[in-house]
């Protein structure tokens, strides 16, 4: 826990008209940890996520990646720095197979002249996709059927496996289990731990307190556009988190205990 932050945000401000969505928010995540970002509706979680993944620009504040000051003009710029986002609505092409989705926009080309003519190397992509799924413990009944025929949990797994394939530093996940049943949620949480164990920093946005306590290593609480608490999961409890989310004082609530 003494390692320095991999991705760090300081004093991020973002206004929408009269609304201060972020009012000097701080945030940090280390490599190889799952950091849950929680907060009530309107606390600024989504805005912070968008700014950190390059989808929006902050009005003030700085972002540091591995100690270097960075600026992401677009999600593509963030992706080039090894940062990916798993969107709530997945963003997979339903008619394509899992392996095609894994490589969408980053196809492996055939070597030599054929590759320069635009020919894709399907066997190589299939091989790498199978390895990636195996490494992360994702079990699909087939890598070749269309994604639309997979269950919601399997689709989410494909989306996460894709993010983990191309992002080697930070992956943001926005409510990754919101639409899933109990068993599928368990599988996806296992997958998130697998991704962390590859040394990737995972930022998990969730409303589900028990789940956050179950899977996260560390929790940061946002309230009214500011960070009001950051604590390791060992020191967290639902009561403490709710107190921090609603009153902004987790430590006061915990003090008597």
């Amino acid at each position: 826990m003494t390692t320095a932050a991999l991705l760090e945000a300081r004093g991020i401000r973002r206004r929408f008209g009269h609304v201060h969505a972020l009012d000097g928010a701080d945030f940090s995540v280390r490599a190889g940890e799952i950091c849950a970002l929680i907060g009530d509706n309107g606390a600024g979680k989504s805005t912070l996520l968008k700014i950190l993944s390059g989808a929006e620009q902050p009005d003030a504040g700085e972002i540091r990646l591995a100690g270097q000051k960075v600026r992401f003009d677009s999600p593509a710029a963030a992706q080039r720095s090894g940062i990916a986002t798993v969107y709530q609505d997945l963003a997979l092409a339903p008619e394509l197979s899992p392996f095609e989705n894994l490589f969408l926009g980053r196809e492996t080309m055939r070597p030599g002249l054929l590759g320069r003519l635009g020919f894709v190397d399907r066997p190589a992509m299939q091989r790498q996709a199978t390895q990636q799924f195996a490494r992360l413990g994702v079990r699909l009944r087939s890598g070749r059927v269309p994604v639309s025929s997979l269950s919601g949990g399997q689709r989410q797994s494909v989306a996460i496996a894709r993010a983990a394939m191309w992002a080697n530093r930070v992956i943001f996940m926005d409510e990754p289990t919101a639409a899933l049943g109990v068993v599928q949620t368990g599988r996806v949480l296992d997958l998130i731990r697998q991704v962390r164990d590859q040394g990737i920093a995972v930022v998990l946005v969730s409303h589900n307190m028990p789940q956050v306590l179950q899977v996260a290593d560390r929790i940061e609480v946002l309230r009214l556009g500011r960070r009001v608490a950051q604590l390791p999961v060992t020191e967290a409890s639902v009561e403490r988190l709710v107190a921090a989310m609603t009153s902004g004082v987790a430590d006061a609530a915990a003090a008597p205990a």
Partner: protein, 349 residues
């Protein structure tokens, strides 16, 4: 989980994959079986007429122009678009190229109604036809991808505009004098007994299939048609791909225009009003989904031949040829219905 359950779980995927492959083969292959059945029935009932080399060559020549248009339409529909302008763009391209060829080859040819234009004139004519087609394709692509107007409306608009311009250029009459070389060597020519028009169509379909199924461009066509937003987030240049797809369809309409001029030795302003619907039904018959993301060139080839074989068989059997439109319409509705059933079954799984 017990050991036996685990073993069953591990064996299951391969078995399921095999059944799925069969289902897909039958699901997409039934229309191919239908075509084979039609050919078998007509060949059995009238073996000498239907199976004659002349009849078979006429069948394939009739299919050639429609197939070239349908290859472009396949790309467009897989990308979840539609191109209603193909027939009108064909007419426009045939008029512009015929006018240019006429201006370049002053003298008359040896046969009545032809000009003495040689390969050079034909080559320039081909370039004009392809460029004319590409131009309308680019107009379609930009309006669909950049202005974000629905493809149905854009291509309905360019259908009217290209047809109108073609009529304005010639005052509504066809250009009847075309180079003799084009008519004799391309339109009526054969290589090793195979009509040149058929060779051109076969090469187009083969190339189209290679591009669609083996290249990155092809993967992106499927991705854009499957979910445009997902494709955009994956870093695909959706606008660029859409424009390229419509340019491809327009350019192939230009190629088809040259083939039509070569075959009929005249432009054919009145002859292509229904080409858009013919190509769309051929593409859909071939198993390509109107919702995008699913389809193949091989299916389109089968889809092009079904109405043509039906018409030919009915004529040979003495059934009034009007029944062909009835039969084709029914098969088309059946094809889309089966596509819907497959889709629903898959989404329930």
């Amino acid at each position: 989980m017990t050991a036996t359950a685990q073993a069953a779980d591990a064996a299951e995927p391969e078995a399921r994959e095999a059944t799925e492959r069969w289902q897909r083969l039958l699901g997409g292959g039934w229309i191919f079986l239908l075509l084979l059945a039609l050919i078998a029935i007509f060949a059995a009932l009238r073996p000498t007429q239907f199976g004659s080399p002349y009849n078979l060559s006429m069948l394939t020549v009739n299919a050639a122009i429609l197939l070239v248009l349908s290859v472009g339409q396949t790309f467009v529909i897989i990308a979840a678009g539609i191109d209603l302008s193909v027939g009108a763009v064909l007419i426009f391209a045939s008029i512009t190229s015929a006018l240019v060829m006429l201006a370049l080859s002053g003298a008359s040819g040896s046969t009545y109604g032809t000009t003495a234009g040689g390969w050079g004139v034909v080559g320039i004519g081909l370039a004009v036809a392809l460029l004319s087609g590409a131009f309308w394709g680019a107009v379609n692509g930009v309006l669909v991808a950049v202005a974000r107007i629905p493809a149905l409306i854009v291509t309905l608009g360019t259908f009217g505009m290209s047809l109108g311009f073609a009529q304005i250029l010639t005052n509504g009459t066809d250009v009847r004098a075309v180079p003799e070389t084009l008519v004799d060597r391309i339109g009526a020519g054969t290589v090793a007994g195979v009509p040149v028009l058929v060779l051109i169509a076969a090469a187009t379909a083969l190339l189209g299939g290679i591009v669609l199924h083996l290249t990155r461009f092809g993967v992106h066509v499927f991705a854009v048609g499957s979910d445009q937003e997902a494709a955009r987030r994956a870093g695909i240049n959706v606008r660029g791909r859409l424009i390229a797809i419509y340019v491809l369809s327009g350019t192939l309409a230009g190629l088809a225009a040259m083939m039509a001029t070569a075959r009929f030795a005249t432009t054919t302003i009145g002859g292509h009003a229904m080409d858009n619907l013919s190509t769309i039904s051929a593409v859909v018959l071939g198993g390509t989904s109107l919702f995008g993301g699913i389809g193949s060139i091989a299916g389109t080839v089968v889809g092009v031949f079904i109405p043509i074989v039906l018409l030919n068989g009915f004529v040979i059997l003495g059934i009034p040829p009007f029944w062909q439109t009835v039969a084709t319409g029914a098969v088309l509705v059946l094809a889309v219905w089966i596509d819907q059933l497959k889709r629903r079954a898959r989404e329930r799984a």
